[in-house]
Protein backbone atom coordinates (compact mmCIF):
# COMPACT_ATOMS: atom_id res chain seq x y z
CA UNK A 1 0.00 0.00 0.00
CA UNK A 2 2.83 2.36 0.94
CA UNK A 3 4.61 1.39 -2.22
CA UNK A 4 1.51 2.17 -4.26
CA UNK A 5 1.28 5.54 -2.55
CA UNK A 6 4.90 6.28 -3.38
CA UNK A 7 4.34 5.36 -7.01
CA UNK A 8 1.34 7.64 -7.24
CA UNK A 9 3.17 10.52 -5.54
CA UNK A 10 6.11 10.30 -7.95
CA UNK A 11 3.72 10.01 -10.88
CA UNK A 12 1.82 13.15 -9.91
CA UNK A 13 5.02 15.07 -9.28
CA UNK A 14 6.16 14.14 -12.78
CA UNK A 15 2.84 15.35 -14.17
CA UNK A 16 3.26 18.69 -12.39
CA UNK A 17 6.82 19.04 -13.73
CA UNK A 18 5.70 18.24 -17.27
CA UNK A 19 2.84 20.72 -17.03
CA UNK A 20 5.25 23.32 -15.72
CA UNK A 21 7.52 22.78 -18.73
CA UNK A 22 4.59 23.03 -21.13
CA UNK A 23 3.40 26.29 -19.61
CA UNK A 24 6.93 27.73 -19.56
CA UNK A 25 7.56 26.83 -23.20
CA UNK A 26 4.24 28.38 -24.24
CA UNK A 27 5.20 31.54 -22.41
CA UNK A 28 8.63 31.52 -24.03
CA UNK A 29 7.09 30.95 -27.45
CA UNK A 30 4.86 34.00 -27.22
CA UNK A 31 7.77 36.11 -25.90
CA UNK A 32 9.98 34.95 -28.78
CA UNK A 33 7.24 35.71 -31.31
CA UNK A 34 6.93 39.22 -29.90
CA UNK A 35 10.72 39.68 -30.17
CA UNK A 36 10.70 38.37 -33.73
CA UNK A 37 7.92 40.79 -34.64
CA UNK A 38 9.83 43.75 -33.22
CA UNK A 39 13.03 42.67 -34.96
CA UNK A 40 11.17 42.28 -38.26
CA UNK A 41 9.51 45.70 -37.89
CA UNK A 42 12.80 47.43 -37.15
CA UNK A 43 14.52 45.65 -40.03
CA UNK A 44 11.82 46.69 -42.48
CA UNK A 45 11.75 50.27 -41.20
CA UNK A 46 15.52 50.46 -41.64
CA UNK A 47 15.16 49.08 -45.15
CA UNK A 48 12.36 51.52 -45.97
CA UNK A 49 14.51 54.43 -44.85
CA UNK A 50 17.30 53.11 -47.06
CA UNK A 51 14.94 53.10 -50.06
CA UNK A 52 15.49 56.82 -50.37
CA UNK A 53 19.19 56.21 -50.98
CA UNK A 54 18.61 53.52 -53.62
CA UNK A 55 20.02 54.84 -56.92
CA UNK A 56 16.78 53.76 -58.60
CA UNK A 57 14.69 56.00 -56.34
CA UNK A 58 16.81 58.74 -54.81
CA UNK A 59 16.07 62.36 -55.56
CA UNK A 60 18.61 64.16 -57.68
CA UNK A 61 18.34 67.49 -55.91
CA UNK A 62 20.72 69.26 -53.60
CA UNK A 63 20.30 68.61 -49.89
CA UNK A 64 18.00 65.66 -50.46
CA UNK A 65 20.06 63.46 -48.16
CA UNK A 66 18.61 65.39 -45.20
CA UNK A 67 15.20 63.78 -45.45
CA UNK A 68 13.46 60.82 -47.05
CA UNK A 69 13.02 61.92 -50.66
CA UNK A 70 11.95 59.82 -53.64
CA UNK A 71 12.02 60.83 -57.28
CA UNK A 72 8.45 60.77 -58.64
CA UNK A 73 9.43 59.69 -62.15
CA UNK A 74 11.81 56.98 -60.93
CA UNK A 75 9.01 55.69 -58.70
CA UNK A 76 6.69 55.04 -61.61
CA UNK A 77 9.43 53.50 -63.74
CA UNK A 78 10.69 51.20 -60.99
CA UNK A 79 7.18 50.08 -60.04
CA UNK A 80 6.43 49.11 -63.66
CA UNK A 81 9.81 47.40 -64.02
CA UNK A 82 9.39 45.28 -60.89
CA UNK A 83 5.89 44.30 -61.95
CA UNK A 84 7.06 43.31 -65.46
CA UNK A 85 10.05 41.33 -64.17
CA UNK A 86 7.77 39.56 -61.70
CA UNK A 87 5.70 38.28 -64.64
CA UNK A 88 8.89 37.04 -66.31
CA UNK A 89 10.49 35.82 -63.03
CA UNK A 90 13.69 37.48 -64.11
CA UNK A 91 16.81 38.79 -62.34
CA UNK A 92 15.16 42.18 -61.72
CA UNK A 93 12.36 40.80 -59.58
CA UNK A 94 14.64 38.30 -57.83
CA UNK A 95 16.94 41.15 -56.82
CA UNK A 96 14.13 43.09 -55.15
CA UNK A 97 12.56 39.99 -53.68
CA UNK A 98 15.83 39.30 -51.86
CA UNK A 99 15.49 42.70 -50.19
CA UNK A 100 11.76 43.04 -49.72
CA UNK A 101 10.45 39.45 -49.46
CA UNK A 102 6.72 39.07 -48.82
CA UNK A 103 5.57 42.61 -48.55
CA UNK A 104 3.71 45.35 -50.34
CA UNK A 105 5.02 48.88 -50.69
CA UNK A 106 2.71 51.65 -51.83
CA UNK A 107 3.28 55.37 -52.00
CA UNK A 108 0.32 57.71 -51.74
CA UNK A 109 0.65 61.42 -52.30
CA UNK A 110 -1.05 63.41 -49.55
CA UNK A 111 -0.37 66.99 -50.58
CA UNK A 112 -1.07 68.69 -52.88
CA UNK A 113 -2.78 65.97 -54.91
CA UNK A 114 -4.81 63.29 -53.12
CA UNK A 115 -6.97 61.55 -55.69
CA UNK A 116 -5.31 58.11 -55.34
CA UNK A 117 -4.98 57.76 -59.11
CA UNK A 118 -2.45 55.12 -60.11
CA UNK A 119 0.54 56.63 -61.86
CA UNK A 120 -0.44 60.18 -60.89
CA UNK A 121 -0.41 60.27 -57.09
CA UNK A 122 -0.53 56.62 -56.11
CA UNK A 123 2.07 53.97 -56.89
CA UNK A 124 2.45 50.32 -56.05
CA UNK A 125 6.19 50.00 -55.94
CA UNK A 126 6.40 46.35 -54.97
CA UNK A 127 3.87 43.64 -54.31
CA UNK A 128 4.48 40.05 -53.34
CA UNK A 129 1.66 38.77 -51.21
CA UNK A 130 2.68 36.21 -48.65
CA UNK A 131 0.69 33.17 -47.71
CA UNK A 132 0.32 34.31 -44.09
CA UNK A 133 -2.74 36.12 -42.85
CA UNK A 134 -1.06 38.40 -40.37
CA UNK A 135 0.33 41.65 -41.59
CA UNK A 136 2.07 44.58 -40.03
CA UNK A 137 1.53 48.05 -41.37
CA UNK A 138 4.27 50.62 -41.22
CA UNK A 139 3.81 54.19 -42.42
CA UNK A 140 6.75 56.35 -43.37
CA UNK A 141 6.25 59.98 -44.37
CA UNK A 142 8.31 60.87 -47.45
CA UNK A 143 8.74 63.75 -49.85
CA UNK A 144 8.34 63.23 -53.58
CA UNK A 145 10.37 65.33 -55.96
CA UNK A 146 9.25 65.92 -59.54
CA UNK A 147 12.39 66.83 -61.56
CA UNK A 148 10.28 68.20 -64.46
CA UNK A 149 8.26 70.70 -62.38
CA UNK A 150 10.96 70.86 -59.67
CA UNK A 151 8.32 70.63 -56.95
CA UNK A 152 8.30 68.63 -53.73
CA UNK A 153 5.12 67.05 -52.47
CA UNK A 154 4.27 65.05 -49.38
CA UNK A 155 3.46 61.35 -49.49
CA UNK A 156 3.11 58.38 -47.21
CA UNK A 157 4.98 55.17 -47.94
CA UNK A 158 3.00 52.26 -46.60
CA UNK A 159 4.69 48.94 -45.99
CA UNK A 160 2.64 45.81 -45.43
CA UNK A 161 4.65 42.90 -44.17
CA UNK A 162 3.19 39.46 -44.50
CA UNK A 163 4.02 36.65 -42.10
Amino acid sequence: MQMTETIFVVFFILIIIVLGFVAFSKFQESAIKEQQREYRSSRVIEMAHRLSSWPELECSVAGASQYVCLDKIKLGILGDFINESKQKSSYGFNYYFELLRDSKITITEIYPSHTKTIGKDYWVLYENLGSGQTTEVIWIPVNLYDPVTQKRSLAIMELLIYE
Partner: protein, 357 residues
Protein backbone atom coordinates in the same frame (compact mmCIF):
# COMPACT_ATOMS: atom_id res chain seq x y z
CA UNK B 1 -2.09 -24.03 17.99
CA UNK B 2 -2.84 -20.35 18.30
CA UNK B 3 0.83 -19.65 18.98
CA UNK B 4 1.86 -21.69 15.95
CA UNK B 5 -0.65 -19.82 13.84
CA UNK B 6 0.63 -16.46 15.14
CA UNK B 7 4.21 -17.52 14.45
CA UNK B 8 3.23 -18.48 10.92
CA UNK B 9 1.47 -15.11 10.41
CA UNK B 10 4.49 -13.19 11.70
CA UNK B 11 6.75 -15.16 9.36
CA UNK B 12 4.51 -14.30 6.39
CA UNK B 13 4.44 -10.66 7.42
CA UNK B 14 8.27 -10.61 7.82
CA UNK B 15 8.67 -12.26 4.40
CA UNK B 16 6.27 -9.73 2.88
CA UNK B 17 8.18 -6.86 4.50
CA UNK B 18 11.49 -8.26 3.32
CA UNK B 19 10.08 -8.70 -0.14
CA UNK B 20 8.64 -5.15 -0.05
CA UNK B 21 11.97 -3.68 1.09
CA UNK B 22 13.84 -5.42 -1.73
CA UNK B 23 11.27 -4.31 -4.27
CA UNK B 24 11.32 -0.67 -3.12
CA UNK B 25 15.13 -0.58 -3.47
CA UNK B 26 14.80 -1.88 -7.02
CA UNK B 27 12.16 0.69 -7.76
CA UNK B 28 14.35 3.51 -6.43
CA UNK B 29 17.31 2.21 -8.42
CA UNK B 30 15.35 2.11 -11.68
CA UNK B 31 13.77 5.51 -10.99
CA UNK B 32 17.15 7.05 -10.19
CA UNK B 33 18.72 5.59 -13.32
CA UNK B 34 15.89 6.98 -15.47
CA UNK B 35 16.21 10.45 -13.91
CA UNK B 36 20.02 10.41 -14.33
CA UNK B 37 19.71 9.31 -17.94
CA UNK B 38 17.21 12.10 -18.55
CA UNK B 39 19.56 14.71 -17.13
CA UNK B 40 22.56 13.36 -19.07
CA UNK B 41 20.56 13.55 -22.30
CA UNK B 42 19.47 17.09 -21.40
CA UNK B 43 23.05 18.20 -20.74
CA UNK B 44 24.27 16.65 -23.99
CA UNK B 45 21.44 18.37 -25.87
CA UNK B 46 22.15 21.73 -24.25
CA UNK B 47 25.85 21.34 -25.01
CA UNK B 48 25.18 20.61 -28.67
CA UNK B 49 22.64 23.43 -28.89
CA UNK B 50 25.02 25.94 -27.38
CA UNK B 51 27.65 25.02 -29.97
CA UNK B 52 25.12 25.45 -32.79
CA UNK B 53 23.91 28.69 -31.19
CA UNK B 54 27.49 29.95 -30.95
CA UNK B 55 28.12 29.41 -34.68
CA UNK B 56 24.71 30.87 -35.45
CA UNK B 57 25.61 33.97 -33.37
CA UNK B 58 28.90 34.36 -35.21
CA UNK B 59 27.19 34.10 -38.58
CA UNK B 60 24.57 36.64 -37.48
CA UNK B 61 27.31 38.95 -36.25
CA UNK B 62 29.02 38.72 -39.64
CA UNK B 63 25.68 39.29 -41.43
CA UNK B 64 25.06 42.43 -39.36
CA UNK B 65 28.57 43.73 -39.98
CA UNK B 66 28.22 43.30 -43.73
CA UNK B 67 24.71 44.72 -43.78
CA UNK B 68 25.68 47.82 -41.79
CA UNK B 69 28.80 48.31 -43.91
CA UNK B 70 26.73 48.18 -47.14
CA UNK B 71 24.62 51.06 -45.88
CA UNK B 72 27.64 53.32 -45.32
CA UNK B 73 29.51 55.02 -48.10
CA UNK B 74 33.27 55.44 -48.37
CA UNK B 75 33.88 54.10 -44.91
CA UNK B 76 36.20 51.63 -43.33
CA UNK B 77 35.96 49.74 -40.09
CA UNK B 78 38.09 47.22 -38.22
CA UNK B 79 36.32 44.73 -35.98
CA UNK B 80 37.53 41.84 -33.85
CA UNK B 81 36.67 38.52 -35.46
CA UNK B 82 38.80 35.54 -34.62
CA UNK B 83 37.01 32.81 -36.51
CA UNK B 84 38.01 31.71 -40.00
CA UNK B 85 35.59 32.70 -42.75
CA UNK B 86 35.34 30.89 -46.06
CA UNK B 87 33.95 32.39 -49.26
CA UNK B 88 32.77 30.11 -52.03
CA UNK B 89 31.41 30.55 -55.52
CA UNK B 90 30.06 27.43 -57.23
CA UNK B 91 27.15 28.99 -59.06
CA UNK B 92 25.95 30.52 -55.81
CA UNK B 93 27.93 32.99 -53.73
CA UNK B 94 28.18 31.82 -50.13
CA UNK B 95 30.15 32.50 -46.99
CA UNK B 96 30.36 30.56 -43.75
CA UNK B 97 32.28 30.48 -40.50
CA UNK B 98 34.62 27.49 -40.50
CA UNK B 99 33.16 24.59 -38.55
CA UNK B 100 29.61 25.78 -39.00
CA UNK B 101 27.10 24.25 -41.38
CA UNK B 102 25.23 27.56 -41.64
CA UNK B 103 26.02 28.95 -45.09
CA UNK B 104 24.86 32.45 -46.00
CA UNK B 105 24.14 33.25 -49.64
CA UNK B 106 24.96 36.64 -51.08
CA UNK B 107 23.91 36.45 -54.70
CA UNK B 108 23.21 40.16 -55.06
CA UNK B 109 25.74 41.85 -52.77
CA UNK B 110 29.17 42.64 -54.15
CA UNK B 111 31.80 41.54 -51.63
CA UNK B 112 35.42 41.29 -52.76
CA UNK B 113 37.30 39.00 -50.40
CA UNK B 114 39.86 36.21 -50.57
CA UNK B 115 38.44 32.69 -50.55
CA UNK B 116 39.54 32.28 -46.92
CA UNK B 117 40.06 34.86 -44.23
CA UNK B 118 41.72 34.03 -40.93
CA UNK B 119 43.11 36.34 -38.32
CA UNK B 120 42.24 38.36 -35.24
CA UNK B 121 40.31 41.08 -36.95
CA UNK B 122 38.28 41.92 -40.02
CA UNK B 123 38.94 45.06 -42.04
CA UNK B 124 35.87 46.11 -44.03
CA UNK B 125 36.02 48.93 -46.55
CA UNK B 126 32.98 50.24 -48.42
CA UNK B 127 33.02 52.13 -51.69
CA UNK B 128 30.19 52.90 -54.09
CA UNK B 129 30.58 51.76 -57.67
CA UNK B 130 29.54 54.58 -59.99
CA UNK B 131 29.16 54.31 -63.76
CA UNK B 132 28.66 57.28 -63.74
CA UNK B 133 25.48 57.10 -61.60
CA UNK B 134 25.50 55.23 -58.30
CA UNK B 135 25.18 51.51 -58.98
CA UNK B 136 25.75 49.60 -55.79
CA UNK B 137 27.87 49.61 -52.64
CA UNK B 138 30.99 47.42 -52.89
CA UNK B 139 32.54 45.79 -49.85
CA UNK B 140 36.18 44.78 -49.47
CA UNK B 141 37.08 42.30 -46.75
CA UNK B 142 40.60 41.63 -45.59
CA UNK B 143 42.84 41.65 -42.52
CA UNK B 144 46.43 42.28 -41.46
CA UNK B 145 47.35 38.63 -41.79
CA UNK B 146 47.32 39.07 -45.56
CA UNK B 147 50.38 40.80 -46.91
CA UNK B 148 50.23 42.81 -50.16
CA UNK B 149 53.64 43.27 -51.76
CA UNK B 150 53.82 45.83 -54.56
CA UNK B 151 56.58 45.65 -57.12
CA UNK B 152 57.16 47.65 -60.29
CA UNK B 153 55.84 51.03 -61.27
CA UNK B 154 52.79 52.14 -63.22
CA UNK B 155 49.84 54.50 -62.79
CA UNK B 156 47.53 51.51 -62.31
CA UNK B 157 49.70 50.17 -59.48
CA UNK B 158 49.76 53.60 -57.90
CA UNK B 159 45.97 53.79 -58.15
CA UNK B 160 45.52 50.42 -56.41
CA UNK B 161 47.98 51.36 -53.70
CA UNK B 162 46.07 54.60 -53.04
CA UNK B 163 42.75 52.81 -52.71
CA UNK B 164 43.98 49.99 -50.47
CA UNK B 165 42.17 49.97 -47.12
CA UNK B 166 44.09 51.60 -44.29
CA UNK B 167 45.94 49.43 -41.77
CA UNK B 168 46.42 46.57 -44.22
CA UNK B 169 49.88 45.08 -44.45
CA UNK B 170 51.26 46.62 -47.63
CA UNK B 171 54.92 46.85 -48.61
CA UNK B 172 57.03 47.55 -51.64
CA UNK B 173 59.93 45.56 -52.98
CA UNK B 174 62.32 45.77 -55.93
CA UNK B 175 63.35 42.17 -55.64
CA UNK B 176 60.68 39.50 -55.34
CA UNK B 177 63.21 36.67 -55.54
CA UNK B 178 64.82 37.44 -52.19
CA UNK B 179 61.70 38.81 -50.51
CA UNK B 180 61.61 37.44 -46.93
CA UNK B 181 58.93 35.07 -45.71
CA UNK B 182 57.23 36.48 -42.62
CA UNK B 183 54.78 33.60 -42.49
CA UNK B 184 51.67 35.58 -43.31
CA UNK B 185 48.41 33.73 -43.88
CA UNK B 186 48.50 34.89 -47.53
CA UNK B 187 51.16 36.85 -49.40
CA UNK B 188 49.94 38.60 -52.56
CA UNK B 189 52.40 40.11 -55.01
CA UNK B 190 50.87 42.97 -57.00
CA UNK B 191 52.91 43.81 -60.10
CA UNK B 192 52.52 45.47 -63.47
CA UNK B 193 54.46 42.86 -65.49
CA UNK B 194 54.41 39.07 -65.22
CA UNK B 195 58.20 38.99 -65.83
CA UNK B 196 58.63 40.31 -62.29
CA UNK B 197 57.17 37.09 -60.88
CA UNK B 198 60.24 34.99 -60.14
CA UNK B 199 61.10 32.05 -57.96
CA UNK B 200 60.82 32.76 -54.23
CA UNK B 201 64.14 31.82 -52.63
CA UNK B 202 63.24 32.80 -49.09
CA UNK B 203 59.80 31.23 -48.75
CA UNK B 204 59.87 28.07 -46.63
CA UNK B 205 56.32 26.70 -46.96
CA UNK B 206 54.56 28.66 -49.65
CA UNK B 207 51.90 26.01 -50.48
CA UNK B 208 48.44 27.54 -50.70
CA UNK B 209 49.42 30.96 -49.42
CA UNK B 210 51.33 32.82 -52.11
CA UNK B 211 49.47 34.55 -54.93
CA UNK B 212 50.04 37.24 -57.50
CA UNK B 213 47.97 39.73 -59.48
CA UNK B 214 49.34 41.42 -62.59
CA UNK B 215 47.67 44.75 -63.32
CA UNK B 216 47.67 45.97 -66.93
CA UNK B 217 46.11 49.29 -67.85
CA UNK B 218 43.74 49.43 -70.80
CA UNK B 219 45.45 52.08 -72.77
CA UNK B 220 48.46 54.22 -71.93
CA UNK B 221 48.02 55.89 -68.57
CA UNK B 222 44.30 55.25 -68.32
CA UNK B 223 43.50 53.39 -65.13
CA UNK B 224 39.74 53.23 -65.52
CA UNK B 225 39.78 49.94 -67.37
CA UNK B 226 42.31 47.21 -68.05
CA UNK B 227 43.14 43.62 -67.33
CA UNK B 228 43.98 41.59 -64.22
CA UNK B 229 45.93 38.33 -64.45
CA UNK B 230 45.75 35.94 -61.51
CA UNK B 231 48.51 33.58 -60.42
CA UNK B 232 49.20 31.17 -57.59
CA UNK B 233 52.68 29.95 -56.56
CA UNK B 234 53.63 26.32 -57.11
CA UNK B 235 56.61 25.51 -54.84
CA UNK B 236 57.44 22.22 -56.59
CA UNK B 237 58.06 23.97 -59.90
CA UNK B 238 59.15 27.21 -58.27
CA UNK B 239 56.93 29.12 -60.66
CA UNK B 240 53.86 31.26 -60.49
CA UNK B 241 51.08 29.35 -62.25
CA UNK B 242 48.70 31.31 -64.43
CA UNK B 243 45.02 31.01 -63.31
CA UNK B 244 43.47 33.25 -65.93
CA UNK B 245 42.69 36.89 -66.60
CA UNK B 246 39.69 39.15 -66.25
CA UNK B 247 39.06 42.77 -67.16
CA UNK B 248 38.43 45.50 -64.63
CA UNK B 249 36.33 48.68 -64.96
CA UNK B 250 36.99 51.50 -62.57
CA UNK B 251 39.25 51.62 -59.55
CA UNK B 252 36.57 49.83 -57.50
CA UNK B 253 36.90 46.59 -59.46
CA UNK B 254 40.67 47.01 -59.80
CA UNK B 255 40.93 47.10 -56.02
CA UNK B 256 38.48 44.20 -55.83
CA UNK B 257 40.73 42.01 -57.97
CA UNK B 258 43.72 42.64 -55.74
CA UNK B 259 41.81 42.10 -52.49
CA UNK B 260 40.28 38.87 -53.83
CA UNK B 261 43.42 37.59 -55.60
CA UNK B 262 41.15 34.77 -56.76
CA UNK B 263 39.80 34.75 -60.32
CA UNK B 264 36.67 32.72 -59.53
CA UNK B 265 35.49 35.01 -56.72
CA UNK B 266 36.47 38.14 -58.63
CA UNK B 267 34.51 37.04 -61.71
CA UNK B 268 31.40 36.24 -59.68
CA UNK B 269 31.39 39.71 -58.11
CA UNK B 270 32.14 41.40 -61.43
CA UNK B 271 29.16 39.60 -62.94
CA UNK B 272 26.88 40.87 -60.13
CA UNK B 273 28.14 44.38 -60.70
CA UNK B 274 27.44 44.22 -64.42
CA UNK B 275 23.94 42.82 -63.87
CA UNK B 276 23.16 45.69 -61.53
CA UNK B 277 24.59 48.22 -64.01
CA UNK B 278 22.45 46.77 -66.78
CA UNK B 279 19.32 47.05 -64.60
CA UNK B 280 20.02 50.63 -63.55
CA UNK B 281 20.99 51.88 -66.98
CA UNK B 282 17.67 50.49 -68.25
CA UNK B 283 15.79 52.45 -65.58
CA UNK B 284 17.71 55.64 -66.31
CA UNK B 285 16.99 55.15 -70.00
CA UNK B 286 13.22 55.05 -69.32
CA UNK B 287 13.53 58.20 -67.25
CA UNK B 288 15.38 60.01 -70.03
CA UNK B 289 12.63 59.01 -72.47
CA UNK B 290 10.08 60.46 -70.04
CA UNK B 291 12.06 63.71 -69.89
CA UNK B 292 12.14 63.90 -73.67
CA UNK B 293 8.35 63.62 -73.78
CA UNK B 294 7.52 65.93 -70.87
CA UNK B 295 10.23 68.56 -70.53
CA UNK B 296 8.97 71.57 -72.52
CA UNK B 297 12.29 73.18 -73.45
CA UNK B 298 13.76 72.17 -76.80
CA UNK B 299 17.25 73.03 -75.64
CA UNK B 300 16.89 70.38 -72.91
CA UNK B 301 15.23 67.77 -75.15
CA UNK B 302 18.21 67.52 -77.50
CA UNK B 303 20.41 66.42 -74.62
CA UNK B 304 18.06 63.60 -73.75
CA UNK B 305 17.40 62.21 -77.20
CA UNK B 306 19.02 64.35 -79.83
CA UNK B 307 21.55 63.33 -82.46
CA UNK B 308 24.36 62.67 -82.89
CA UNK B 309 25.16 62.12 -79.20
CA UNK B 310 22.68 62.21 -76.34
CA UNK B 311 21.95 60.66 -72.97
CA UNK B 312 19.84 58.03 -74.67
CA UNK B 313 22.74 56.83 -76.84
CA UNK B 314 25.12 56.65 -73.91
CA UNK B 315 22.65 54.82 -71.69
CA UNK B 316 21.85 52.34 -74.43
CA UNK B 317 25.56 51.59 -74.84
CA UNK B 318 25.98 51.15 -71.10
CA UNK B 319 22.98 48.83 -70.94
CA UNK B 320 24.05 46.79 -73.95
CA UNK B 321 27.70 46.30 -73.06
CA UNK B 322 27.10 45.65 -69.36
CA UNK B 323 24.71 42.88 -70.38
CA UNK B 324 27.22 41.20 -72.67
CA UNK B 325 30.11 38.94 -71.75
CA UNK B 326 32.84 40.72 -69.80
CA UNK B 327 35.81 41.51 -71.99
CA UNK B 328 38.42 44.23 -72.30
CA UNK B 329 36.90 45.51 -75.56
CA UNK B 330 33.41 45.78 -74.03
CA UNK B 331 34.82 47.54 -71.01
CA UNK B 332 36.60 49.99 -73.28
CA UNK B 333 33.27 50.92 -74.91
CA UNK B 334 31.58 51.05 -71.50
CA UNK B 335 34.24 53.37 -70.19
CA UNK B 336 33.74 55.73 -73.14
CA UNK B 337 29.94 55.81 -72.69
CA UNK B 338 30.26 56.35 -68.93
CA UNK B 339 32.67 59.24 -69.40
CA UNK B 340 30.46 60.90 -72.01
CA UNK B 341 27.37 60.56 -69.84
CA UNK B 342 29.21 62.07 -66.89
CA UNK B 343 30.28 65.07 -68.97
CA UNK B 344 26.72 65.55 -70.24
CA UNK B 345 25.20 65.37 -66.77
CA UNK B 346 27.74 67.82 -65.37
CA UNK B 347 26.73 70.20 -68.15
CA UNK B 348 22.99 69.78 -67.40
CA UNK B 349 23.58 70.63 -63.74
CA UNK B 350 24.61 74.12 -64.87
CA UNK B 351 21.34 74.56 -66.78
CA UNK B 352 17.65 74.56 -65.88
CA UNK B 353 17.18 71.10 -67.40
CA UNK B 354 16.48 68.11 -65.12
CA UNK B 355 19.62 66.05 -64.49
CA UNK B 356 20.01 62.56 -65.81
CA UNK B 357 21.18 61.29 -62.41
Amino acid sequence: MLLKRKKQENKVIKNKKGFAIQFSWLFVLIGGAVILAFFFALIKDVGHESEVESYSDLTKELDNLLSISSASRDTQKTVLFEEKINFVYDGTSRYYVEGSNIHREYNYNVIFSPFELKGRELIIKTLVFEAPFKVTPVLYLSNRDIEFVFSGSSSALNAVYTFMPDNLTTTYTDDIESYPDDDFFHTVFVVNESSLLTILEEFRKPEGRVYAVVVSSGSGTVVEYGKLSFYHYNPSSGLFVYDGESPFLGSETLLGGVISHDKNLYDSNLKKLMQRLELLSGLHLERVKHYYEHVPFAVCKQNYDGQPESARNYLEDIRTYSGEEVSLDNFMILYAAITDLRILNNYLITTECPFIY
